[in-house]
């Protein structure tokens, strides 16, 4: 592919590892952004963002307008969802969702009326005058989440502002096939830059750096043009060499700053904050036009896609509609996301979500992961490809032997699951699958352990309580007995005379008895002696 000759405006550092897979990008970035006819129904996944499931606030049969809130945030770590078009809610039920598990989850099903009529939009009169809280509230209410792939609610990411000195706009788009960020910049660079400006207003004295791979010369030109027109000379372009996974958050930070995000910390701890170009665009729309996030740019591509390109697609649009609308052949394998980090869909009746940046309608043999795995020959190709400087061959060795403590010792949880190791593996081992298995097992074990610990604590607390009750009871009894004894003693003192008389009488009687039985007692003593001798 063509490379940009633009020289980066900031120094670029190196990242370890990385791969150069075939890019397949020209297939989808040669045409302008288009729209497809609306689908017959939209299936809106309530768990379409990182965090908690949104809570539906519409009822079946209710008519909604485009942009109207249909589901609310469940707590802070969640997002609002809006109707992607006007129409009627026909069901709130479980449908297959866009998730690697391929499982069903609660979805709102909307039947479009075809009018695509917006509800009343509350746009902000003057962004300059809005304070930080107001801007964040607007971003929150418009359901903006990170559009780079993780769907992390943007308002949470923007919350921390102390010590942040650089805003990085992620336009690297390093994964093969995907071109939606590239096209968005080519056609809407101005809006993206304005969105970045809005974000930068949330911080004091912040630098803006756009990180982009050199395989997007047109997008780089478009940014320069827009920057000139908008007179935003504070925005710097960091052009990085094309290498997967340079667009990973940690990797792009390393490329642009030479720093590593410390294990267990966030980029904000380094004074950095990163947003995707699509997110900037969405924030711009949310603040200037008051438009909530109801659609996104999606790359439709793959050998079986007959009209590859980038399309504005309302959320919830089922993938089978996209296949039909582009007159594509039935895909052999249907991938949501890119070929490196995406996931396969179990079938095409799945609505797209805020994280869906790409749909690959692959032909037979287009994707190479079907081969049988052979034994690991420890060639170390995976190690040379790992951007996190892990030892994938060791992680694999321990993961497949269920030696999870060893896998953790080799920093399993620092694996970003980029798939570079599996891509280069000559033995065709699905390495990432093994790491996911190990990670989830370890997480489950931790939960189980926690549960067991809680149960143990509860048990011990109960035992202690029972023990205490027993002790207290015993103590009470002891005290009661003492009290009785004391009382008896007291009573005894009072009756001392009576007792003395009785005792005297008893002594007299005993004496009489003793005299009577003297003879018989002597006989008995003798027989006792004989008996004891016999025993010896």
């Amino acid at each position: 592919m063509e490379r940009s000759s633009f020289v980066s405006e900031i120094p670029i550092y190196e990242i370890p590892g990385g791969i150069h897979p075939e890019e397949h990008k020209t297939r989808s970035n040669q045409t302008n952004i288009r729209r497809l006819p609306l689908a017959n129904e939209l299936v809106i996944n309530l768990k379409g963002q990182a965090g908690n499931r949104s809570i539906p606030i519409v009822e079946v049969g209710e008519a909604v307008l485009k942009g109207q809130v249909i589901a609310e945030c469940d707590g802070i770590f969640s997002a609002y969802q809006h109707a992607p078009t006007s129409g009627t809610i026909i069901a709130i039920e479980k449908r297959t969702i866009a998730h690697p598990s391929g499982l069903d989850d609660l979805c709102i099903v909307l039947k479009p009326d075809g009018d695509d009529q917006w509800c009343e939009l509350t746009s902000s009169s003057n962004i300059e005058e809005m304070d930080r809280e107001a801007v964040l509230a607007q971003i929150f209410e418009k359901g903006v989440v990170g559009l780079g792939g993780a769907s992390f609610p943007s308002h949470i990411k923007l919350k921390q502002h102390e010590g942040v000195h650089t805003l990085i706009i992620n336009a690297a788009e390093c994964e093969p096939y995907i071109t939606c960020d590239d096209k968005l910049l080519q056609e809407h660079a101005k809006e993206v830059l304005l969105g970045a400006e809005i974000i930068s207003k949330l911080y004091q004295d912040i630098n803006i750096v756009i990180g982009i791979e050199d395989n997007k010369p047109q997008a780089i030109d478009a940014i320069q043009q827009a920057r000139k027109e908008l007179e935003l000379s504070n925005i710097k372009l960091g052009v990085v060499p094309t290498k997967y996974p340079s667009g990973g958050e940690k990797q792009l930070i390393q490329l642009l700053t030479g720093k590593e995000v410390p294990h267990g910390k966030l980029p904000a701890d380094l004074g950095l904050i990163m947003h995707n170009v699509g997110t900037c665009y969405a924030i711009h729309l949310a603040l200037t036009e008051g438009k909530p996030l109801v659609e996104r740019l999606v790359t439709l591509t793959g050998d079986n896609c007959k009209e590859p390109g980038n399309y504005w697609i309302p959320f919830g649009t089922p993938v089978d509609h996209l296949i039909k609308a582009t007159q594509s052949d039935t895909p052999k394998r249907l991938i949501m996301g890119g070929p490196m980090m995406g996931y396969e869909l179990p079938h095409a009746h799945v609505g797209i979500v805020k994280a869906t940046n790409c749909i690959i309608m692959s032909a037979d043999g287009e994707l190479g992961m079907d081969q049988t795995a052979l034994p690991c020959i420890r060639c170390g190709a995976c190690m040379d490809a790992c951007p996190a400087s892990l030892l994938p061959q060791q992680l694999y060795w321990h993961a497949q032997a269920d030696e999870f403590d060893k896998a953790e010792e080799y920093d399993l949880f620092d694996c970003i699951e980029c798939g570079a190791c599996a891509y280069v593996c000559p033995s065709h081992i699905p390495l990432v699958q093994h790491y996911r298995y190990a990670k989830s097992t370890i997480r489950n074990n931790r939960v189980e352990k926690l549960k067991a610990e809680k149960a143990r604590e509860r048990y011990e607390a109960r035992q202690e309580r029972l023990e205490r009750v027993k002790r207290e009871k015993a103590e009470r009894h002891r005290k009661a007995a003492e009290a009785r004894k004391k009382a008896a003693e007291e009573a005894g003192k009072k009756d001392a005379k009576k007792a003395a008389v009785q005792a005297a009488l008893a002594r007299v009687q005993a004496k009489k008895k003793a005299q009577q039985s003297d003879e018989s007692a002597a006989d008995k003593n003798q027989s006792d002696d004989n008996h004891s001798e016999g025993n010896n």
């Binding site: 410390p262 394998r333 000559p426």
Partner: protein
């Protein structure tokens, strides 16, 4: 059709491809060996490869493993191929069979098959033969150009399979050099001369020590070097281990040479003598038994080079690549453990992940 998990993209490479490249890259060395030492080299190859494939198939069957896919990975073939290249050209056939079968069955499959063996199978087979049959294993023919009685193809086959040549020439006659002395390899010759009280400059006057590292052998080494460089360029092998092996040799040989050049060979001689280049580029780079960490590869390679020169100089054997490789194979788990790279975002590799980072 089961759901796959990412990544879906795959580089078009395979173990079989790697193995084929290794075999292909030995061809220059093989041709030079055949030029100097006759058809016997080729006969050894055929015997060894057949034995390896049969042994591999049988043991896979015994272990209830799929035979064809694993046979096709080519690893057994490469083991036999490399072992055969290290064998003397007129070795009795049954020794070749024994060494190869031992390599496949004991050095490889007893440990669990491809990927699980600790020791380089070809070198285990080689050392077994070297220790069991030291005479036969050190009986190299003089390079063709020096030989009084060059060996023809029929004689070679006849000697390998029956122990005697068809036209009444004996192996002892074939071993005669032009000057009537029994020939050995250059390394062997130097060792013998030194033991008899000669100095290196005197030993080097023999016709077998000609040029860089002795007649024939320097060309064999150059040819293996050429093939090895192709493998490097093709990224079938990393460049670190071969360079490290040569570096390790230099580290020991150079100070010795400067200390006393009467007793110690010039480092370049070591580099192009014996099995150096075959060992550095084709044997030490066996991925299964080599170290796999970035630093570990250097330690592993330097260790092999250093041990080789030490044994060649002070030990009882004229060449020592096989011993050096096996010794370093043993150290690999430890090397790998102590040379873990620093993971992204971790301050210090010695610090455990759970302890966090400053």
């Amino acid at each position: 059709m089961a759901l796959l998990s990412s990544p879906f993209a795959k580089k078009t490479n395979s173990v079989t491809q790697m193995m084929l490249w290794v075999v292909g890259a030995t061809l220059p060395g093989l041709f030079v060996l055949m030029y100097f030492f006759g058809v016997g080299v080729l006969v050894n190859l055929v015997i060894a490869c057949t034995t390896a494939l049969v042994a591999e198939a049988l043991i896979l069957k015994l272990r209830n493993r799929p035979v064809m896919p694993i046979l096709w990975d080519g690893s057994a073939f490469v083991t036999a191929w490399l072992l055969a290249l290290a064998l003397p050209p007129l070795l009795p056939w049954w020794m070749t069979v024994l060494g190869t079968a031992f390599a496949i069955v004991f050095a490889k499959h007893v440990y669990g098959g491809l990927g699980n063996n600790i020791f380089n199978p070809a070198m285990v087979g080689y050392v077994l033969l070297l220790i069991s049959f030291p005479l036969e294993m050190t009986t190299w023919l003089p390079p063709q150009s020096l030989a009084e009685n060059p060996v023809g193809a029929i004689e070679a086959v006849s000697i390998i399979f029956t122990g005697a040549a068809s036209n009444e020439t004996t192996i002892d006659m074939l071993k005669q050099g032009v000057d009537g002395y029994t020939m050995a390899t250059p390394l062997d010759h130097i060792k013998t001369e030194l033991a008899q009280g000669y100095r290196i400059p005197e030993a080097e006057t023999a016709p077998i020590i000609k040029g860089l590292s002795g007649a024939g052998w320097q060309w064999v080494n150059l040819a293996f070097l050429a093939g090895g460089l192709v493998l490097m360029a093709k990224k079938v092998i990393g460049w670190q281990i071969p360079i490290a092996v040569l570096l390790g040799m230099g580290l020991i040989a150079l100070p010795l040479f400067f200390a006393n050049s009467d007793y110690y060979l010039f480092p370049m001689f070591h580099g192009f003598a014996g099995a150096t280049m075959l060992g550095a580029f084709f044997i030490a780079t066996d991925p299964v038994t080599a170290s796999t960490t970035a630093k570990g590869r250097w330690i592993f390679g330097i260790g092999i080079g250093a041990i080789t020169v030490l044994i060649r100089t002070f030990g009882g054997y004229p060449d020592a690549i096989a011993f050096a490789v096996l010794l370093m194979n043993m150290a690999v788990p430890m090397i790998d453990y102590y040379t873990k790279p620093r993971t992204y975002g971790h301050a210090d590799k010695k610090r455990k992940a759970s302890e966090g980072v400053k």
